[in-house]
């Protein structure tokens, strides 16, 4: 067992006395069993929200985006807020599966599958908003550089909005492929256990005929490593480019070189919060308590406090610079005395409370290791990060250079409906995923069982194999 040595000071990542077969059983159980009542309740609520959102989308497309609360000054509001919010949430999945793989963090293995699922589902939601905001989504393919009847009139590669198209579509497709490649051995495991013929057929199809040859595994590991290496700069580039939608404009409050790193940190911050929210529920309903442990929760909270700290420092610097310019225009940016005391004071203070103050509780080890407190704090961060984007967009746009153009943004029921609809859609996808996909990368967890399993650690302790 010496090849599986791990420092005894490290806490186990897999609890209980598990064998390889027990892991198989535990991961397959939610798929092979039937859903309980709570799952159905959650599913139908999400489905209702999703359908309501789809209704609002149809209304928007059929009538025009005049049904939103946008006005002559605030031409972007909830749609781009939601877009940035969802893209940001997606970032944690890639960070966990790619960056933590490069850093050889074993604790990622219990959570990477669900975090990546979250990434993909969140990017779906994000992608909806720019497409609806086009007003004529059937012309959406105009964002692609394809020859056309207008000359050819090409897309504008100088524009950050087009960079976004390329960044988001690369990000979505690469994440999907990364996720699916990792899923193949786990689908194969479900396939080989399946007793019902239909189930067997479906999982054979999904597993692409994975057989697990030594050569396949050698390639699999190399591909995972290279994909992680490619996905790491990719994920950093995506939110960098999203921030350039703002940073390359000339609005005070947006025209800021600090945006790219600060948006990336904020994205990871909000993404990890969403992972905490989802896994907090999932570990209970799928009985994965032995795999998603207090230690995992604590590690994620440490990432949250780090990235949250970066975000807080960025806010402070934005606030200071706005004040230090002495320019009256800067007093209407989202981080200014004007914002804190103006008509949007509630949005400003929501941001400060949810995003800066509440996460500080995570400095306490007791809170950091508490499931319920982590869950509550993660929801607060989700709210806070939504307000961050709302503040950056609505507060900055509400007061332009010309006081006669000052205006306020009031969302209509359609704005609210579409946002709620995307939350419903997200949870519909995630709930379906939790019932049909192996929610933990079982093949990977099996590789760390001997080094990080509680049972094996105990055996080593008893035999003094250190």
């Amino acid at each position: 067992m010496s090849s599986h040595y791990e420092a005894p000071i490290r806490e186990p990542l897999v609890l209980g006395t598990k064998s390889y077969h027990d892991i198989t059983e535990d991961i397959a159980r939610p798929i092979e069993g039937s859903a309980n009542r709570n799952w159905y309740i959650a599913f139908y609520i999400s489905l209702a929200a999703m359908l309501w959102g789809f209704g609002c989308i149809f209304y928007t497309v059929g009538t025009g985006i005049g049904v939103w609360g946008l006005n002559k000054n605030i031409g972007w509001a909830w749609d781009i807020t939601n877009f940035v919010w969802w893209v940001g949430i997606g970032h944690a999945g890639t960070l966990i599966s790619a960056v933590l793989l490069l850093f050889r963090q074993k604790w990622r293995m219990a959570i990477n599958r669900s975090a990546e699922a979250m990434t993909i589902f969140a990017v779906f939601q994000a992608g909806l908003f720019p497409i609806i905001h086009m007003g004529r989504p059937w012309n959406g393919y105009w964002v692609l550089p394809i020859p056309n009847q207008f000359g050819s009139l090409w897309v504008n590669f100088n524009s950050p909005l087009l960079w976004d198209v390329f960044a988001i579509s690369t990000y979505l497709s690469v994440s999907l492929v990364f996720w699916w490649t990792g899923l193949l051995p786990d689908f194969a495991m479900i396939r080989d256990r399946a007793v019902k013929p239909f189930q067997k057929k479906i999982y054979s199809l999904l597993s692409f005929g994975w057989s697990g040859r030594a050569k396949d595994w050698q390639r699999f590991e190399e591909v995972s490593l290279v994909l992680a290496g490619l996905a790491t700069p990719l994920v950093l580039s995506v939110h960098t480019i999203v921030s350039m939608d703002f940073a390359t404009s000339i609005n005070p409050g947006w025209h800021s070189t600090i945006f790219p790193p600060y948006f990336v940190a904020g994205a990871i911050f909000s993404g990890f919060a969403m992972v905490q929210t989802l896994l907090g529920i999932m570990r209970k309903v799928t009985n994965m308590e032995d795999y998603i442990t207090r230690l995992h929760v604590e590690y994620m909270n440490i990432v949250i406090i780090l990235t949250g700290g970066i975000v807080a420092v960025a806010y402070a610097s934005e606030f200071f610079i706005a004040w230090y310019t002495g320019s009256p225009y800067e007093n209407y940016t989202y981080m200014s005395v004007g914002a804190a005391t103006g008509p949007y004071y509630w949005a400003f203070w929501s941001l400060i409370i949810f995003n800066i103050l509440i996460p500080q509780l995570l400095w306490f080890k007791k809170i950091r290791r508490s499931f319920i407190m982590s869950f509550i704090i993660s929801i607060a961060i989700n709210i806070g990060m939504w307000f961050e984007r709302f503040d950056i967009i609505a507060i900055v746009l509400s007061k332009g250079h010309l006081p006669s153009t000052w205006w306020r943004f009031e969302p209509t029921f359609v704005d609210v409906g579409i946002f709620i609809g995307t939350i419903g859609f997200f949870f519909v996808l995630f709930l379906l995923y939790a019932r049909t996909f192996p929610v933990i990368a079982q093949a990977e967890v099996k590789t760390i069982l001997k080094s990080s399993g509680a049972h094996y650690k105990k055996l080593r302790d008893e035999n003094n194999e250190h």
């Binding site: 090409w154 590669f157 960044a167 690369t170 005929g209 396949d216 994909l227 996905a231 590789t447």
Partner: protein, 175 residues
Amino acid sequence: MSTSKVIHAFYNDDDVLMDAVKQVRAANHHIEEVFCPFPVHGLDKAMGLAPTRLAITAFMYGVTGLGVAIWLTYYTMIADWPQDIGGKPNFSWWLNMPAFVPILFELTIFFAAHLMVITFYMRSKIWPFKKAENPDPRTTDDHFLMEIPVDGNEEELKALLASTGAVEINVVDNH
């Protein structure tokens, strides 16, 4: 004389498997294949498999993607229909290039990632509707299977495999 028979030796522990692979190779037997439920580190070296060259292909695909992106931005923005966009230099790709960096980067990643994964799928013969070829369903759960062709040395091989800790040894006709 070649035979169509193979031996399937099952192991239920990765460390035992590793030692077994080394012993079987030391006894000069050819290991046709090992099926594993999860990656066993060092198994490829122990079996004498050549290193994979997929990372090299990823690099070449990335270079291709970069080339495509350079051509695309040059052709659309400079050659085919130059336009004055925010005063950016539309007469020279090089001077306009800083605005294209995000595109150059994204297309490099796009090509490298997707083409590498497609190469992996083709090389390992995995794709939708492909039938799995692992001989026993336990090999995706907790068993490792070593496949060795029999060449008139069935009994000797069986004895060797049993001594390496195989939990089950079957002689089957090759498909």
